[in-house]
Amino acid sequence: MAAREFWKRHENLYFALTNKKVLIGISIFTLMILLAIFGPALTPYSYDEFAGEGYLPPSKDHLFGTTLMGKDVFTRTVYGLRSTFAVGFIAGTIATLIGCIIGFLAGYYGKWIDEALMMITNIFLVFPLLALLIILAAYLPYRGIMTISIIVGMTAWPWTARAVRSQTLSIKNQGYVNLSRISGISVFRILREDIAANMFSYVFMVYILQFSGTILAAVGLEFLGLGPTQGVSLGLVMQNAVNWNAIQLGLWWWAILPGLVLTILVVSLYFINTGLDEVFNPRLREM
């Protein structure tokens, strides 16, 4: 009986956990996280070590084969995955936070604050961000994961700000916000309990998209050789492969497998997002 009450109250959670897309997405995502955490412990090599002969196709010893020089591609991939997750978490969080704050302020206060913030947002929106990132990164001689995440996060927020703004606008006009205002509740509490709390599910979905978006942006930078100056990243692995003409030489495992892992990771995030979309918008559920 209690269980039933629980599901009745958390109907959306129930739908989320019975949604095929969400389940598949979460499973793959979890698998990837486990791979990033425990992967390095599973492989006997380190990412920069010459682990064996070069030009080895995938085998039991080298799951993803070896590079031309004999580095273990699997090892490089799992280490790269770590850095990818780190970028996704940090940059995704930064972008979501900035987007939410700007969207909140614009939507809640309206008037010239709204006009000004939306002007800035629209400018960022039309700016080709990769170009901006390139120019920023190109002039930074030393770049860590943190630096990359921050510059990616600082440029990825505009669409979030727009989305959050329109959500705030629609919630702001709900009667309960006005009721809270005339109940002598502080603006901070209204923002937290009436607006933010009701936007939580929405913001969560935004975060998922930011996570995948920032990962892709960061990998693009890495591929240009503008990623972290130390360590290994998925983009760097692929850049090496292209620079060394891996595909022309037939080392497809080097050029393709690390990117495939990344693509699957992004697909899983999309699955979670669309699944949740179906949960929160019953109109899409019918299909």
Binding site: P128, Y139, L140, F223, G225, V242, I247, I256, T263, M287
Partner: protein, 329 residues
């Protein structure tokens, strides 16, 4: 209508202004003293002394106050002076870029337009046909999740290496004579095809998913219900839904232009296709800051121009904007 366009134009002007300002500011204020790196690189080249005299003392004007430097920067910009390239020394950056940008245009314009059209059609079909939906959707998700350059590698490997149908680097073979002759055009198209295919396919997924959701959404809208109540056929209702679903897709095009252009830059690198992306990589590897900045500026201009075109199209197809009932896009 005028209000809508002027508001957009204002945003683009401000964006351009900011881009130029960034270009001016970055070498001056970034850590690591990039200007001294530039100076030292030039001084090693033949004729580098004159460049240093000309560029740095006059237009760069490093010994002048910042504000004057800033105005001088704008002045030389309008004179078309973006500096001298190191990578292809001593060519002016503007000429280097002019030669490269044509490749971006012939790659991007067909890829964007075709992908948008085909993607929308497929998405609309997927939105009304459950069976097709189940088969196509995972594929679309895969496409839209793939990084451009990785997908380029996959395409190059399959079509260029395994099947060996198409060449996978450069814009044309060194054996053909560039010009309006058939062998050259054929050779050119062969080189063009794979980068085009990459850009076409990766975008396709996003458009298809977007249109599919729009069609489902429009299908449950009130006008659809009304039309069905009055005996309109599925075909007509679908056409109406498509017509309305197109609007957000055009807006989506504007929003995604930046990403697509970025994707094209990376794709060019994989295929050594000599557009701005490939040029930029060379510039980065050679620490050719003038060229990096020139590329940056032109990418911004390209995206802004494309945005403006999309805005005009949007205005034409959405009566609400045309009649000034809504300024939002």
């Amino acid at each position: 209508m005028g209000k809508y366009l002027s508001k957009k134009l204002l945003i683009y002007l401000i964006t351009f202004f900011i881009a130029v300002t960034i270009n001016w500011a970055i070498p001056r204020f970034m850590p690591g003293d990039p200007i001294s790196i530039l100076l030292s690189r030039f001084s090693g080249l033949e004729g580098g002394r004159e460049i240093i005299e000309g560029q740095f003392v006059q237009s760069f004007g490093l010994n002048q106050p910042l504000l004057t430097q800033y105005f001088n920067f704008w002045r030389s910009l309008f004179a078309g002076d973006l500096g001298i390239s190191i990578y292809v020394f001593p060519k002016p950056v503007i000429n280097v870029i002019k030669e490269a940008i044509i490749y971006d245009i012939i790659l991007l314009v067909p890829a964007i337009i075709l992908s948008w059209i085909v993607g929308n059609k497929l998405g609309a079909y997927s939105g009304v046909n459950r069976k097709a939906d189940n088969i196509m959707m995972p594929f679309f998700y895969f496409l839209t999740s793939a990084p451009y350059f990785w997908f380029a590698v996959v395409v190059a490997f399959i079509f260029g290496v395994k099947l060996a149908f198409f060449p996978i680097s450069n814009a044309y073979s060194s054996t053909v004579q560039p010009g309006f002759n058939l062998p050259f055009i054929f050779d050119f198209l062969k080189h063009w095809f794979l980068p085009f295919l990459t850009l076409f396919l990766v975008q396709l997924g996003g458009w298809a998913i977007g249109m599919r959701n729009m069609i489902i959404y429009e299908r449950s809208s009130n006008y659809s219900k009304y039309m069905e109540s009055l005996g309109a056929s599925d075909r007509l209702i679908r056409n109406y839904g498509f017509r309305n679903g197109i609007l957000p897709q055009v807006t989506g095009l504007a929003i995604r232009l930046g990403t697509v252009v970025s994707g094209a830059l990376l794709t060019e690198i994989v295929f050594s296709y000599p557009g701005l992306g490939y040029l930029m990589l060379r510039a980065i590897l050679n620490q050719d800051y003038f060229l990096i900045q020139g590329c940056f500026l032109f990418i911004v201009i390209m995206v802004l121009a494309a945005n403006f075109i999309v805005d005009i199209i949007y205005m034409i197809i959405d009566p609400r904007v045309r009649l000034s009932y809504s300024g939002e896009v």
